[in-house]
Symmetry: C2
Subunit: 170 residues, 2 copies
Amino acid sequence: MRILGIDPGTARCGWGVIDVSKHDGRVTYVKHGCIESDKMINTQDRLVKVHRNICDLIQEYKPDQVSLELLFMFNNQKTVMKISEARGVILLACGQNGLKDQTYEYTPGQVKLAVTGSGRADKKLVVEEVKKAFPEAAVSSGKKDGFDDAADALAVAMARFHKYIEEEIK
Amino acid sequence: MRILGIDPGTARCGWGVIDVSKHDGRVTYVKHGCIESDKMINTQDRLVKVHRNICDLIQEYKPDQVSLELLFMFNNQKTVMKISEARGVILLACGQNGLKDQTYEYTPGQVKLAVTGSGRADKKLVVEEVKKAFPEAAVSSGKKDGFDDAADALAVAMARFHKYIEEEIK
């Protein structure tokens, strides 16, 4: 069972792929990355890029499920609007590629809880825990901050993994 | 010069097409409608429908420009998120169909000002003014409220028309 985790954004959109063994519930790292858009290009170009890249990722890695981070109360309305526009094209890409009934969404609190055991953990701890879970992912990063961008995406994939295991046990 | 006006939404997404004569600046009504999605279907199906319909409209009516209503400070964060998701797939459809440098956005205040002469006019007055401008559009509506849904879209197309004329005069 393969999960594609996505941390939505237009300037930087992190993604991470993990495999879950249905046999023993073990989780293994597959790949991670970040869709980056130059700040100078316009919103529509960015949205086209995010949409095309997500479609490509789905076709390349063929995930069975997608796990997407839900927005939570931001103070900045503009940020909410920009991230929601990116979420729109990501949800569209999943819907167009046969994953509409396999797209799950988790709040930042749920993601933190799944990864660190606390819904109020800070971002640094989330990154550390993801690094511990997938040391090969952290090592494979070329850029110093390359992993941090995708860590949230791997974390949201792990949130889905935890929920999946819970559901399987039931 | 043809303008496609869009009033973004996932449940109801109004649209209206108008033609502007470059010769004498006269504006004529072409068509209007509303992309409706059943409230029972999920967000992804709705986004897929809005995206496909906007792509179809662009291919059928071949607008030179698109005019889109910008969101303005809402109280309800959920509404902002839902409408922004729809805006994301609409901006994507325009970007994918060669209109990325021909997409204009206007705030509700700018739209009201263009149509009624006041940035603080109520929705009813906007609908009345659009009816006066395009009586054939109001008549052609089958459903009683069919026109009201698209009136905002025709109004945002008119906002672009006014701006275009201003720019031409300069």
